[in-house]
Structure formats: C-alpha cells, structure tokens
Symmetry: C2
Subunit: 452 residues, 2 copies
C-alpha cells in the first residue's frame, strides 16, 4: 500500500473551492473578453533556454526542470562527479515548467509575428510553477491570470487596464486601491540624484519601502553609494502628499528639467485623464511615487492593486514594457499588461466573507430512490429536469430515505423530490426544500417552477 | 538572441483555436454539471511514488520526472557512474507530472475520504503529460476531460454515463457509435477457454483486434498458449452478429454456465434497459464482444466511442473499476468513469467542418479613432457597449481608417463604428457591417440594437 500524499506547496481544489474559484476566474474572464482580449494558452513545458535568463539569477533557481526521458546519462561523457549539479543540469534536462505567463507570451508573439494582427490583445489563465519555499499564501503551483496588449504605445491601453481592473473588483465586490507610477519618473529621480547606472539598485530599494520602512531604504541606498544630499532629496520625495494632481505639480516643479521625469509625469497625467473618460470614478486610483515593482522589464507606467481593509499584499499588478520580445529577436514592440493574483483574491474574499457558502452545489434537485419500479418514475422526471437545463441527480442506490436526504444536505442540494406509491397514484411529486425544510405536493409544472 | 521554439509534442493554442476548444470544453462541462458532477482540480505535480506502478512498466517510462531542486547530487553518496540512469532517477527526482486524471482522483478520494459524501460525482478537465514519441494527433501535453462516480455499484451510473455521452455528442452535432462490453464477459470467455491466469493476455490480444485483424489476434493467442479448440471457440465468439439482444441471447446460451459471464451479460442487458429509461434512443449503442480496453483496472462494464464517417480512433472511453483506491489503502470502493478525448474531438469536428470560422471573434464592435478629440466620443460609446455586455474595443492609435478596418477584418470583428466630425454634429454613428459590407447611420439605440 502507498501512503497517499501531495508534494509540498501544491493543493487539491475540492468541489466547494472550485465553485468559488471558478466564480472569480469567470468574472475576470468575462471582463477580459468584454474589453476585447482574446484567449491564449501555451504549454506548461517550455525549453529551458527560453525560460532561463529572464527572471534574474535568484529566480532562475526556482525553475522546475524536467529530467530528460530515457537514458539521460548517455549524453554525459565525463564522470558526473566532475560536475557540480549546476553544470550537470543542462546536460540532463532541456525542458522546464513555465515560471510565469509573460515569457511564454513573448515567445508566442515572436514565433507567430507574421500571423498576428497587431495590436494584439490576449488574456491567459493558466497555472505556473516556482520551486519557492512554500509558506502561508505562497504555493509552488498557482494560477496566473494575465491580460496584455502588445504592438502599440498608446496610453489608452494603460487607461483601459485601469478601468478593467476597477471593473473586475467592482464585480467581485472588493474595495481596492490602485497605485500608479512610472518607471520614467523613478529613472528621472535616479538621474536627479546623479545615480546613472545605479537605477536598478534604486528601484529595488524603493520597492522594499512598505516592507522594511523608510529608514532601512535610505540605509540601503547609502550602502549602494548614494550621498547625503541625494538621501535628503529621496526623503523629501518620499514624503510628498496630496491629491494626484497636487503630487504631479509638485514633482513637475522638482524634476521638470529632467526630460524623462517630465515624460513620466505627463504620461501619468494622461492615463488619469483617459481613464476618467473611460468611466473611471477615480475613487481607487492613487499616484504613488514609492511604487517601483521588482520586475526588470518594465519601462513605463506601472500599477499595483491592494484590497482595502485586509492585510494581504498585492492582489494584482502590471505595467508597460518596451522590449519584452527583444530577447527572442523581435525588437521595438511595446506592450502593457496586468496580472491578477487569483489565490490572494480568493484569500481576500474568504476573509471578507464575500464567498458565501450558500449555493455551492451546482446540482439543484436530487430525486430519491425507493425501489426499482418507482425509480422508473424518477427517470422520467430526471430527463425532464435535465432537458430544461436544471442540474439534477437521481440517488443511484435504494437505501433509507434519511440517508438520501443526508446526502442532499451535505452536498448543499437545495431541493429533494420524493416519489412513493402514493405520489404515483395521485400523479404528483413530494418536493422538499432542504433550506427551509418546507415540504409540498406538486405536479410537474409546479415542481419545475419551484426548482428553477 | 534566443531562437524561440517549443518542446516537441507541445502546442500553443492561438485565440481562434481557443475559441473552438472552449466551445467543446464548455459543452462537455455544462453536460457534466447538468448530470450532477462537481468540479475537481488536482496539481500537475504529484509525488512519483504515487504515479509509478499504476500504468504498467512500459507506460511508467512515459512519466515526466522533475529534477529535485538545489544540489540534487548531494543525496547521491556513491559515484553516479555506478548506477544506470534507472537506479539514479529515484535519487535525484521525487516528483513527476500527472499522466492521467484517474490516479490523482483516486489519491484525492483516499486523502479526503472522511470529508467526502459518497457516492461522489466529480468531473475534472486538466492537461496531462506523457513522454510519448510525438506523432500526428499524439501530443506530450494534452487535455483530459473525465467524469467519475465513486462509492456505488448501481448500474444506473453506467446507464447515466451512456446517456451523458450521447447528450454531449448530440450537442456537438457528432454522429457517434458507443460500444459497450463487460470485462466480466471477457473473463467468462477466458474461463470457458480454460485460460485462468491468462486473462490479461487474452484482454490485450482482443484489444488489438481492430488494429491488427483477427488472424494476428489468433496467432498472438496461440503464442500465449491457447490451444486449437480454444482458438476455434474464440473465432466463433468474435464472429457473432445481430442486434444487441440477439447477441446477448446467443452468448447466454454459449457461456451461461459460467457465472461471471452470466453476470456480465445480465449487467449489459440492464445498462441497455436503464439507459433507455433515461431517454437514450439507442441509435448509438452497440454491444461489442471484441471491445476490451487496455487499462488493467477495469472490472465491469466498459465503453468506447467512435465518430461515424471519419477514420479517427476512439474519441472517448471508460468503464467500471472495483478497486481503484485499493493501492492507496482504501479497499472495496467501486466506481465508474468516462473520459472524453478533447484533441480527437477537435480533429473530428475540424474534419467534418463542424467548427465554423464565423463568429470566431469574441469582440463584437471596433470603434475607430480619427483624432484625440473624436476619441472622447468613442470612449463614451465604448463604456455604453461594455456596460451592456457587448464585447468592444477602441482602436488605440490614430492611424489610417483603412488600416483600422483591416484590423477588424483580420480579427473577424463583425461591426465597426466610425465617428467623424459629421457624425458628432448630427449626433449619430456610422456603423459598418464587416460581413455584408453594408454601412448605415444610426443613433445610439439603433446601434445597440444592430450589434447585439
């Protein structure tokens, strides 16, 4: 006998969880489609030379690698002991599991560039794998849920994504805060500090602000070689407050002579204005100069979303990239995307009691079974219910009615039909409402009406 | 620069393919739910000790194995050269990719046996991975689409699955032939041939009948040690014809003194009768004594489905198993399941022109852009269309109208809205039907009506 177990950091999704997750995913999917994004799926397996080198050295270690099929040692001519595992790996493993949906998307665009009509709007909802240390809320296999538009620099795309994000969370009934910033402004700040060549160090330090606090960020910048005058300027910039337009004005005055900062501020202004024209109420949108986002491929406007009233981290984020496909040989194609964190959204909704346990059963009606002959009457009703599109079951075994009712109860099936000799004689059904406990006699029409 | 490529045997599903696949999958899913099956998802990653030993030695070789993270050689104390790759594998790989949905289902049932209400009806639609030699119609990553009910021996379940299969293919407009048989009848035949202990060899030989023909099957049986009298009896059995009930009567006469064969024949009779009561027309159902199905875990009724009029193999199959969970320590739980072959169904429908290219675009309306000011009017309309649930896009860049029309055309977007100075003055929209080429002036109401 084998003891059944699951790999660490992986999960089964039981039916009650699935129904809730499907509600979240189908809400997002419907909004994606309503905004003109089209579905794409790429394989879980990708060649490792495609995956490696995109996520930074530390993250490359988190790629799951597939052992080559057959005699993988045949290709290793030397004594494997002469290798450390790092140099042996590429000789015995050529494929891995995708780490995100962005790199496969870039690969797809480059491979299909002659068939794709640009601008190309695609959404993709698939699992990804990361050999991270599992912990609460962090899994080794989890879904990503991305929308990207590639092949245009129009800021309408950023504005539409803001609107789309609002739309999704409105539909899910989650109050959110959407932070927006631009890598160009951050670059401008870095430039104003005389930190050319240290931009990435600056982004990474700023990105940690919320996690480690201002003091430690300033300390990290000091270590990275920023001087005292610079640090004072950083402190000043980090402390700005006010409305979005007040912040923009303030920073224009402060950084206006730096072209790239000016461009970034202008873009933020335009995205805010365009999203308003697209129907955004702007109750959610906050220009936040401390938003940096870790990923190195962002070059323009960046976003991040948090839920109000819970202490769960970011539930989505995205931004513009100017050269995602460059690594695969297609230069100069700009795009912008957003990714929803489905697991965290699920956690937020659970914590806020937004995923009710009622209505969990997809099945509406259970027909109980007394004996083989009465089952025939059950079958006739079953066909009628299913033909009317009302998900229904017949209990397959002839056991005590109490046990059959118990089955309906545990599964959350709201209606049970009882067909005994009496009912058959009278040409009616006994219909029990499992929620109210109410029990009525009904003919076919009344029954169909009641269970719809 | 990296040359973008895909691993052999894997595919991208582009938006036009996705729309068609989603149509097939959502049709099957809706029928599953209408019949009371509930969704389940299990992780792609499973421990290899769970996966191995279930599919036969040859198939175990087709498991994709994940290289352990970090220094996988640290655990190998001896010189790896002292191992062949077979004995090294378990030391450097503890996880693999699921090979089917049945074994993960059995693992799930055993791990959650105390929380599950039996009988448990679940469906599961997820990819599986097999390191098979890729060829036309055979992929290394493909979807399976399974429904199982576990925890009851009632033949109503078999009958319901027959009805469900008919229902799915009726909805997909595919003419099918559903073959049905019972492992018990085949065991009875084997017993009548004095072939106790050689049942598996008998099943495997019979299973190849269609592929290699009767002569070669008889030859294989001869090799396996069946004598001349036996072979003559096999020939006789394989050649029976007639209606389902004629075949059952004939075999009852021939095998009636063998208990297990009698049980099997009785079950087939009952499943046919029950499925008829469940609304089956039986135009599709054929009792076929030569159907064996390869998988070793089947113990009762088995099914297989083929499409009429195309030479594509089986597009679905299933059967009853009495001890699927036994390997994980839960004995005596009987179940029955069916699996749809989505890729083959896609191929059948493509070959029969059942997947029309029309209506491929999810987006209904493209709003064109002339200049930034006129775009504002476009935004207003865009919000109204989306709020009404009509998937719509605005072209993000101000480029030549012809190019924007070309975009709509290539993407199969059926309606284009043109908003110029004239239209704004008159308070109307120009609406172009991209299929008929017709162009009308419409106010908001007329436009909404036309594009719905």
């Amino acid at each position: 006998m084998k003891k059944p177990s699951l790999p660490r950091g992986t999960r089964d999704f039981s039916p009650d969880t699935m129904v809730k997750r499907n509600y979240i995913l189908s809400t997002i999917q419907a909004v994606f489609e309503n905004y003109g994004y089209q579905p794409l799926e790429t394989p879980a397996l990708e060649n490792l030379n495609i995956l490696s080198g995109n996520y930074g050295e530390e993250n490359d270690k988190l790629l799951f690698k597939i052992l080559d099929s057959g005699d993988f040692l045949a290709k290793v001519k030397e004594n494997p002991r002469n290798f450390d595992y790092r140099s042996l790996t590429p000789k015995i493993s050529e494929k891995g599991l995708r780490y995100d949906l962005t790199v496969p998307f870039a690969r797809y665009v480059v491979m299909n560039q002659h068939d794709i009509t640009f601008p190309f709007k695609r959404y993709q909802i698939q699992p990804v794998w990361r050999a991270d240390r599992p912990q609460k809320g962090r899994y080794r296999e989890f879904y990503q849920c991305d929308a990207d538009i590639i092949g245009t620099k129009s800021l309408i795309c950023e504005a539409e994504l803001v609107r789309l994000v609002e739309d999704v969370f409105d539909k899910l009934n989650i109050q959110v805060n959407i932070k927006i910033n631009s890598r160009k402004i951050l670059e401008g700040i870095a430039a104003s500090l005389g930190a050319e060549g240290k931009e990435q160090a600056f982004f990474i330090a700023i990105d940690k602000l919320e996690k480690i606090g201002e003091k430690k960020v300033l300390y990290e910048l000091e270590i990275a070689g920023f001087n005292k005058t610079s640090l004072e300027k950083v402190e000043e910039i980090l402390s700005i407050t006010g409305s979005n337009s007040e912040k923009i004005s303030y920073l224009k005055a402060l950084l206006g002579d730096i072209q790239i900062a000016n461009d970034g501020l202008q873009e933020i202004k335009e995205v805010i204005s365009l999203s308003s024209q697209l129907g955004s109420s702007h109750n959610y949108l906050e220009f936040d100069i401390t938003l940096a986002r870790g990923l190195s491929y962002y070059t323009g406007v960046i976003f991040e979303v948090k839920a109000e009233g819970v202490t769960i981290g970011s539930i989505g984020g995205g931004g513009r990239y100017d050269n995602l496909t460059g690594v695969f040989g297609l230069e100069g194609v700009s795009g912008v995307g957003f990714s929803f964190g489905v697991d965290r959204i699920f956690d937020v909704m659970t914590e806020m009691n937004l995923l009710s346990d009622s209505g969990i059963s997809i099945t509406r009606v259970l027909i109980t079974s007394f004996d083989a002959e009465l089952q025939n009457h059950g079958f006739v009703l079953l066909n009628k219910l299913r033909n009317a599109g009302i998900p229904s079951e017949i209990f397959p075994d002839v056991i005590k009615l109490k046990k059959q009712l118990n089955y309906a109860n545990k599964k959350g099936i709201p209606f049970v039909v009882i067909i005994g000799q009496d009912e058959v004689k009278k040409g009616v059904y006994t219909l029990k409402n499992m929620i109210s406990g109410e029990q009525i006699e009904a003919d076919l029409d009344a029954l169909m009406q009641a269970v719809k």
